[in-house]
Each structure stands twice: as C-alpha cells, then as structure tokens.
Symmetry: C5
Subunit: 305 residues, 5 copies
C-alpha cells in the first residue's frame, strides 16, 4: 500500500507512481493508435455510413458508469473490511496481552507471559503468511519452541492450531491456580474473536466477487472504449484520439483499481500493508510486555499510528 | 461458484465459461434477428413515422440503469450475507472445537470429544442439505450414532435438533464434572450463534426479493431492449443490430446475474460453493482434533484458505 | 408475500398476479387516454407553441430516477430489517427452547417446560397481532392458562407482559433449584433480545418514512408522467401514448412497490408473510420439545425452510 | 413528526400540510416572478446572445441530482439512527423494568421497585429535554425525590447523573441481599447500553453534517434554479416559468427535507416525535409495574405500537 | 470543525467562511482567466476545428459525478466512523466512571477513585495527541503521577500503556477486596472496548483511501474543468467563463471537501473538534465524580450536548 504525503493540487495532477497509469499505459497507447487509424479513415467511414450516433454512447456510457460505481463500492468494501479485520487483530491481541497482566494474579509469571506474547505474535505472522501463500517458518521458528514449530509445519490451518495452543496456555495457567474460571472465559472470549478474524480473512481471500461480474464489466468497458472513436470521429476530428484516451483512462483505471482492491491481501501496490501491520502489532505487544523495541524490530514504518 | 485464475486483460475479453453468455445466447440471437428485420423494413418504418426519437431511450435507459444498479446491490448483499453466514459457521464450529479442548479439564475425554466434533460436522452438512433440499442421510449416517440418525430422519428441522444434541452433550459433560457452569455457558453462547446462523440462512433462502421487483425489472429490461432498434435504426442503419445486441447484453446479463445471486445457496454457476465449504470445515475441525486428513477427505478444494 | 416459482424468462414478461399492475391499471389507462387527447390536439399545440422541449424531460427524468432509487433503497431496507427481526425471533425462541432442555438439570420438568414453550409461542402470535392490529385472544387462549389470558386481555403491550411472564417462569425454576444464577442470566440475555425484537418491530411500524418524502415523490412522479405527452408529441406522434405509458409504468410501479414495502407488516401482497412465519416458528418449537407436528398445525407453508 | 393516514393516490397530489411546500412558497414565487421577467426580456436576451445552451443544464442538473441524493441519504441515515436510538431506549428500559421483577428475589420490594421505575422514566424525560434544550424540572420533580431533584438542578449532564443513581439503586439492592453479584452485572450491562444511547443522541445532536456540504449544496441548488430560465426561455417560451418552478420545487424541497432531517431531535414538522415516544415509554414501564395507565397519562398517541 | 447557526436561506448563499471557497479561489480564478483566453481565441478555434462537441462533456461529466459521489460517500463514512469512535469513547469512559461508583463497595475509596478518573482523562488526551502527532506531556503531567508520566514519556503507544495501567488499578482494587472477580471482568469488558476505540482511530488515521483513487479523481476533475471551455465556447460565447467557473466550483469543491473529511482527525476546518470533545469528556467525568467544573475547565464549548 502506497502512503504518500500529498503534494499540492497542481503537482498531484502529474503523479506517476501513485497511480495505475504505468500498468495501463500499453493498452491506452493501443487505443490511441487505434483512434488515430479511425480518424485517418474518417472519409471512408463517413462514405459507408460506418460512424455511430454519439447519443447511443451517452446512454451507454452513463449506464456503464453506474455499473462501475457499483463494482467500485463492492471492491472498496472488501478492501475496507479486510482492513477492519486487521485492525481488530491489533485490538484483540493488545487486549489479550493486557489481560495477561491484569487478570493473572502472580508476579513470578514473566517468563510464561513472554511465551504467551510470542504465541500471539506468531499467530499474527502465520495469518499473514497464510493469506499470502508464503512460507511462515522463519517467523514461527524465532517465536515458538522447536517442538511446536515442528507440529505447525505439518498442519494446514496454522493460525487455528496456534489459537488452540493459546487456549491451552490459558488452561494451564488456570490449572496452576494463576487465574479463576471467570478469567479463563474472558481470555476465551478474545480467542473466539481471533477465530472470527481468521475466518473473516479467509472468507475475503477465498470468495472473490462473482467472476461473471468481473468478466462482464471488463469486457464492456474495453469494447466500449474501442468503439468510442467511431462515435466521435465525425464531430471531433483530430481531437478524437486525445479525448477518447482521456475518457478511456478514467473508465479503465477505475476498473483496474477495483480489480486490485478486490483481493486486499495481495501484493499489488494498492493492497493492504500486511508486512507493516504485522511488524507494528509485534512492536506494540512487545511494548505492552515492557520490552524495549530493539533496532532490528524497528522498521521504518514504526511510527505509523 | 466458479473461481478462476484471472488471465491477462486481453484474454478476459473472450472469456466464455465464466460468464452468463451461454445462457443468454438464444435471447440475444433472437434480438439480433429482430433488429435485422427492423433495419430491413427501415424505409417502411420511416415512411409511416414508426421510428422513435432516441432521446426517450436515453432518458429511459439511464433510469433503467439506476434501477438495475439497485437490484444488483440488493442481490449482491444477499449473496455476501449468505457467504458471511457460512464464514461465521466456520468460525463458530472452530471455536467450539477449540473449547472442547481448552475448557474440558480432562485427558481421558478423547472419544467423547470426537463424538462432539462429529456432531458439529453433521450439523454443517445437514444445514447444507436443508438449504439445497437434498438428502442428508449419507452424511449423517457416517457421522452420528445409528439411533440418533434414525431420530433425525423423522424431523423437519434437522440442524436445530442437532444443536439440541450438542447442547445435551455439554450438559452431560457438566454432569460428569468435566466442566463447570460458567464453561457450559461459554459453549451455550456459541451454540446460540449457530442457531442464529441457521435462522439467517433460512431467512435468505425463504424470502426472495419481492417478486414484483423481479417481474418489473425483468419485463422492463426486455421490452426496452426489443424497442431499441426502433430508436436507432434511422441514425445507425446496418450497425443497429450489433450496437443493440452489445447494449442489450450488458443490461440483460446484469439482470441475469442479479437473479442468480439472489438465492446464493442454489446450484447455479455463480452460487456459493457449499460443497467445498462443508468439506473445508470438516477438514479444519478434524485437524483441530489432531486427526490426519485422510485422502478421501482431501478434496481438490482442500487448499482454499 | 407472494412466493412463486419463476417461470422461464419469456413467460415472466406477461406475469400479471405477481405485479402491482392490476392496482395501477386505472391510472395508466387514464394516462393513455390523456396522451391520446394530447396527440389529437397536436396541431393546435404546435400552433400555440404549447409543446415542451424533450431535453428538460431527460434532465428531470434522470433526476427523478435518482430520487426514486433513494426511496426504493429506504423502503427495501425497512422491509428487510422487518424480515431480519422476524428471523431473529425464530433464532432466539429456538435458543430459549433449546436452553430449556440443556440448562435445566431435571428430568421431571416436562410439563413445566411445555408451559414455557407455549408462552414462547403465545409471545410470537401476540407480536404478530399487535403489528397487524388484529385480535390476539384466539391464539392466546389456546396457549396460556385462563387466568393469565384474562390478565393479557387488559393490557396494551401484550408481548411485553408475556416477556415478563417468561422471566418469572425462569425465576421460579431457579427458586425450585432447577437452575443456578448463571443459567438464569443466560435465559435473561435471550429475553433481552426478544425485548429488542419487539421494540424493533414497533419502531418500523410506528415510524414511516417522513411523510414529506412520500408526498414529494408521489406528486413529482405523477405530474411528470402527465406532462410527458407534451414533450414527445411532436417527435413521436401516435407512438406517444404507448411509449409514455410504458415509461410511466416503470416509474409509477416503483413508487407503488416502495410504498407497499415501507410498512412490511401490513397485509398487502408484497408484505411479509407473518402468518406463515408464526406457524413455522410454532412448528419448530414444538419439534424441539419432541412433539409430533399434528396435521392441523401443518400448514401448506410448512416446508418453507 | 406528521403521521397521516394516506389518502388515495389522487388526493395525495394536492397534499398541503404534509409537505414543505408552505415554507418554500415565497422562494418559489420569487423564482416564478423572476422567470416571467426573463421570458418578457426574451427578445433582448436573444439579441445579445445572453441565453444559455440547455445541454449544460442537463449535464449539471444530473450531477446536482447525484449530489442531492448523497445529501439525502446522509440526512435520512441520521434521522433513522436517531429513531433507532430511541427505539433502543424503549427496549432497554423495558428490559431493566422486567429484570427488576425477575432478578430481584423478594416480594416486599414493591415500593423500592417503583422508585427504580420512576428513575428510569425520569431518565427518559431528562434525555428528551437535554436534546431539545428545554427545562426538565417539571418532569423530574414529579418523578424523583426532592433532594435528588435539587442535585439534578445543579448538574449539566442530567441523564448521566440519573444513570449513576440507577447504578447506586442496584448497588443498594445488592447490599440488602436482594440480588447477587451476577445479577448486578446483568443490570450494569443494560445501564451501559443506556449510556451508549445518551452518547449516541449527543453525537447526532452535536455533530451536524459538515457545514461546507450544506453551504455548497444550498448555494448550488439555488443558483442553478435561478439560472434555469436563461436556458429554456428560447425553446419553452411562456411555458418556462411553470416548468422551471416545477423542477425547482423538487430540487429545493429535497434540499429542505434533508436539512430538516439532519437534526432529528428538533421541533420541525418532520422531526422525531420525542414527546409521544417519551409518553409511550412511560406508559409501557408503568404497565410492566402493574400500574393502571390513568387518563392523564393516556395521550392520544397512546395506541402507537 | 465549524458549527454555525444557520442563517436564512438567502444569507446562506453568500456564506464565505463556512465553505472551502477561500482555499479554492486561486484555482478558480486561474480557470476564469483561462476561459476568457479561450473565448478570446474563439474565431481561431472554430477556424481550426479545435472546439469540442458538448455531448462528450455531458457523457463524461455525469460519469464523473457518479465517481465523485462514490468518493464523497467513502470520505464521509470515514468522518462519521471517526465521530462514532469518539462518541463511543465518551460512552465507555462514562460507563467506567459510573462503575467505579456502583461496583466498588467501599466508602473510603474517594482518593483512589479520583486517580482512576484522572487516568481515564489522561487516556482521552493522549489518544487525541497521538492522532494529531502533538505533544501529550502537558496534559499527562497534570493528570498522572510523576513516575508514571516519566514511563509514558518513553513509550510509543501511550494510550495502550495507559489502558494497562487502568487494568492494573482494577486488579489492585480486587486484591484489596473492594470488588470481586465478576466485577473485575465488567471493568475489563469496558477496557477492551477502549482498546477497540484506540485501534479504530489508528486504522482510520493510518489507512487513507487508496492513493490511486485520490490521484485519479483529482486529475480527472481538473483536466475536465480546464477542457470545459473548449466545449461550450461556441454556443455560450462570453457567458462561458462564468458558467464554467460555476460548474467547476461544484465539482472541485466536492473533491476538496472529500479530501478534508478523509482524515477526520486533522486540523482542517471541517475535521472533528477533538479539542472540544476531549474537554467535554473531562467535564462529564469530573461531574460524575462530584467535582464542580471550575472555570478554567469550562471552555466556551461546554454546553455542547
């Protein structure tokens, strides 16, 4: 996810990196060339009545804008729901870390508590890796015992098994008399919430917008843009290619952004900054456990609030 | 539900299976033929002033797009709510499975716990079968005792009776002193959530969008599309049939997708993948209970996260 | 609420009962006649410059479509919220019925439990009758004791007094040592939810969409439709009446549906099927209490899932 | 809030009181006169080319409709959220009243219970008065002890201090052994909800839609309406004034309704009926405490369900 | 955030401070000058066919309005969610303050309770300062002990460490026998909510609308506005500059407001009044602890309800 300081309104007009423009360039150049060809053959088209009345483009362009608006809302909602889930992940892990202080009535529990915090951190990283289909073992190895790391290597739903381990940690603490049944349930409630977060992320990742929608809008947007020159060649002449590319840019770019946001856990420029967020959760959990945040933990994103 | 790897933007234009195009083909061909007839009789129409001013089509086409946009949002919301309910089903069954470990204070309870897990899995399958009006007995027989399977055969609301059985399992565990009153309530809370999920699915399945809406929009879309040739025959000539079919395709396809998504639990290509999801829930619950997932359980959809 | 099996796309075009068409017919015929008169006086209108530029109709028609879209969303949301509340009613009464099994630790409580289930069923029916301003006494008399039925006759907020009685039933069970304080609270929580459902239904029933909105849109839609002939008489000639009636049908029908859905608890064709739903809740609660569902309870809607 | 029985569709066209028409009349008459002047100077305008192409009005009118649609949604959401909060107020006070029966294990507590119910009613009225900036003392004096009424006179956030008193009542009941710690928490939970309701109402009342939005749309709507005659004078002639006033009426009225609904707790005709609702809550709470509702309590709005 | 008494409808047309007009003035003047130049070169443009058909502006303008409508909804939702979080902050701190009275069973706890209230107030201010990247030490120093203020100076996530301290205060009270385990959990629940609020604010502050959206719309709006004169110069003549600036004002101003609301915690005129709200929370918490609100606490915003 690209977070940039906004420049003034004028510079923003010429922004390059922060947009989907680079990726769309080839297609827009293709459209430009195509439009130029159409303008070149204008006399031929007029002669054979092969130009189209602009009225039909107005009608259809507005309809298309309405449908694109719908697609955008849906994609953005998925993006924002993904973000909310990771926000809830931050909140709940913090609450669990705090409760490992306030609900456990013992001063000689620092080592055990650190184990708990590390399990929480491992849970966060393993969720990130699951969503991105990357290898979690590096992060898991530095955070949990060797034995448990081996168990985790075998299983498919790593975050869920980590949750079970967190539940067992609480159960053990209860058995050792460090907390009562009520407090155990307070922990359990937050573990349930973590289970909801895992499932929510899996839901977004595994259920894209019905593919038919994507195909329909993708197809319609591009066919529409490549038909546009025929509609305006008569009245706009050599202005056509530039006007058409400008309009096409907006339609095509919105479709492209919607397509990127649809899967917010990916690695495209507009996707969620899961790396930064995992790092930030690790930092705040360590701080809650009175650890100094050492330089190697301290990424450049540290001060994101 | 069709989940495909997206091809590049160009190939996607010619996608066939992932769209509703096959199903709509006959109607679009009908419209094409009709348009050709209209163009053929153009001189006759002009002579008798039977062509229509395009302005009225612009006006009405945009109004129609707005109403279709509304219908689409509503249908998609139903689809997504259905998906959320099945996501919650995953989360809550996982939480219950985890709590059967962390809240039950006993090491000699493995067999009983397996019974509980199997009841949970049977609950999931029986909900699927109820929503699809299919026969649940195969799945139920392999998961619950013969006696209880017979009881279930008689009842109408199978998932609800399974929920009661899950509640009774917890009650028995409490009686046997394996958990206290507080922990029982923690189980009960999650069982309540499962009850909400069943009811939520039933609500979506039994209450379609008011039929009048569907009729009104269906009728309007098709009448509109078949009137279109009269509006553009004068200005577009022989381009008319192709332009009209392209526009009609978008309107008609959106109506068709909205119609499919309206009942997300059906068996049409864009409906929810209930089979895959049930299988996946079974797998994750088995894993939570330290079972190796055996090949026969391991469907090709297994790695959906 | 009309639930119909959808016919094929072609038959659906000529659907009559499932639409608001019958109710709107007289107005549409009036409009048709009016349009014919306008077309008849076309020469006179043109002579005195009394026809209107279609541009202004396009502008205003689209604006109107946007406002109608807003009204439709709001009405549909009310309809769907009403449906959700009745769905929650199903879920919560089921949960309470289940808990009357799993939380009450006694085998000699069948008679008392039946009393509880009957109170729940009476609660559902009394809510239905309150929302429809119909007489609840028949349903109440067959479900509760004579004494309590008499008390209920006197009171204004029957479902609320039934809730208090349900609360007292639980209190008595606790006094008799059948459940502990914790379990009582589990019941109380679900009773609170029922209280929320009653209040939610009352809110929808007692607070329509601000009347000014309804008046404004109703007025604008009809004035607009009756002005339309003046805008298109010049260009469309004798096609005018049919084109105008088709457009008017869509606008007017959407307004009419929105008006029906606004109060989802009424008795109009598109309103919620409260009778069926009450019956279905009764059936599922009886089944949860191991009662065979006798034929007289078994309505034709029984298999709605 | 005006709640009227809907007349038939025809009478509704001429509704006067239920609309914002009276309030807008002067402005619309001004616009009418202005349009007449513009039409009168039509030759002069045409001569100096001071009329405007209608195309630009179509473009801008539709854009304006979209923005007005946004403003309307936001205002209506505020109205409906306000209504939901008062609905929740009804639900929660009812739940508290019910729990004062079902959770307090004592038959000699009727007097004390009445004190509790009266505190609840006083809480409702004091919230109403706070939201309307009116004097709460009449309602408070008839419901609470003199001493406490004096305390309340001094404080700024009356409903909050009443909540604390409700909490103290529960604490006292616990001290007297009438309820246990668990039940106290059940009360506390509902008191927390009341705290949320107070804060929710304060939020809506104290945070209007950003003023810039209101100014921008207000200004644009009126400038647009007063420019309209210049756009249509050429094509519409003497029909201009009437057509313009009709269009302006819709735009201006929607802006006016949105403006009214923005603060739903006010005293304008479309605002929430807080008086009726407070009265209704008082009635239902009294009934829950087995009080006959005496005539003076029985307002004409009583039967609102 | 600017809260103004609304003037009458006429004065509101000429509002200056409450709008984004001042900030946009330079750009609009630039556009005005540019338009004048375009009109001046009108003969040259017409001669070389360098004017553009207005139809394409209508098409694109409406599409742009739809996309701007989407951007506005998203920004406003962020603004309103931010407001809701601060509303919840008020509610939860009030609930905690009330519970420090009703759940702690001791009359000699006034001093300790004041410490708790002060920690709550410090929590509110430190959240405000974190969101605005300002220095929290002044507010923290006047509210917490010197030792703890020093600890806070070192940490990055101050509100979270303050939450831990609040949790420890409750733990201590439990150890001293002033409250039982159940009541501790009631406090913990509200502390969890505060943790959610912190995380929610951080989420909005750290995750802007995907930058690509902002760039795309910003660019499109301005290019569109600067192209407009070419479209209307032929038909509007010297009216062009004024008409164009009026249209541009609406589009550009909406984009500017959306941009401001996107980060609701900033210091721009339309952002949330965090100073006032913090002050108001302090006042209501002090009142709940029977403190007279002294003049220096009593800001001019005091009476905001």
């Amino acid at each position: 996810m690209i977070i940039k300081k906004k420049g003034n309104w004028f510079k923003m007009l010429f922004e390059w990196n922060g947009s989907v423009l680079p990726q769309l360039m080839p297609r827009l150049i293709l459209l430009l060339l195509f439009s130029i060809v159409v303008v070149y053959f204008k006399p031929f088209l007029l002669e054979h009545n092969l130009h189209i009345n602009p009225a039909i483009f107005t009608l259809f362009g507005i309809a298309l804008a309405i449908f694109l608006g719908f697609r955008n809302s849906v994609s953005y909602d998925r993006f924002w729901e993904g973000r909310k889930l990771w926000g809830a992940l931050l909140n709940d892990t913090r609450s669990l870390a705090r409760q490992s202080h306030s609900l456990i009535d013992s001063s000689d529990y620092d080592e055990k508590r650190e184990e708990f915090i590390n399990l929480l951190i491992a849970f966060v990283y393993s969720l990130k890796h699951q969503l991105r289909h990357t290898d979690a073992s590096n992060d898991i190895n530095r955070l949990v015992s060797k034995d448990f790391a081996n168990t985790l290597k075998e299983v498919h739903f790593k975050p869920i098994i980590l949750l079970r381990e967190l539940g067992n940690w609480v159960k053990t603490a209860k058995k050792e008399g460090k907390l009562d049944g009520m407090s155990q349930l307070a922990f359990e409630e937050n573990l349930n919430k973590l289970s909801d977060i895992v499932g929510g992320c899996e839901r977004i990742a595994s259920t894209p917008i019905p593919y038919t929608y994507s195909v329909l809008l993708h197809r319609t947007v591009y066919i529409y843009c490549f038909m546009l020159p025929f509609g305006f060649v008569e009245t706009l002449g050599w202005i056509t290619p530039f006007a058409i590319v400008f309009i096409a840019y907006t339609f095509v770019a919105l479709e492209a952004i919607a397509d990127e946001l649809e899967d917010p856990f990916g690695l495209q420029p507009n996707d969620l900054a899961l790396d930064t967020m995992s790092q930030m959760i690790e930092n705040t959990l360590l701080e809650l456990n009175d650890k100094k945040i050492t330089p190697q933990n301290n990424s450049k994103y540290y001060y994101i609030t």
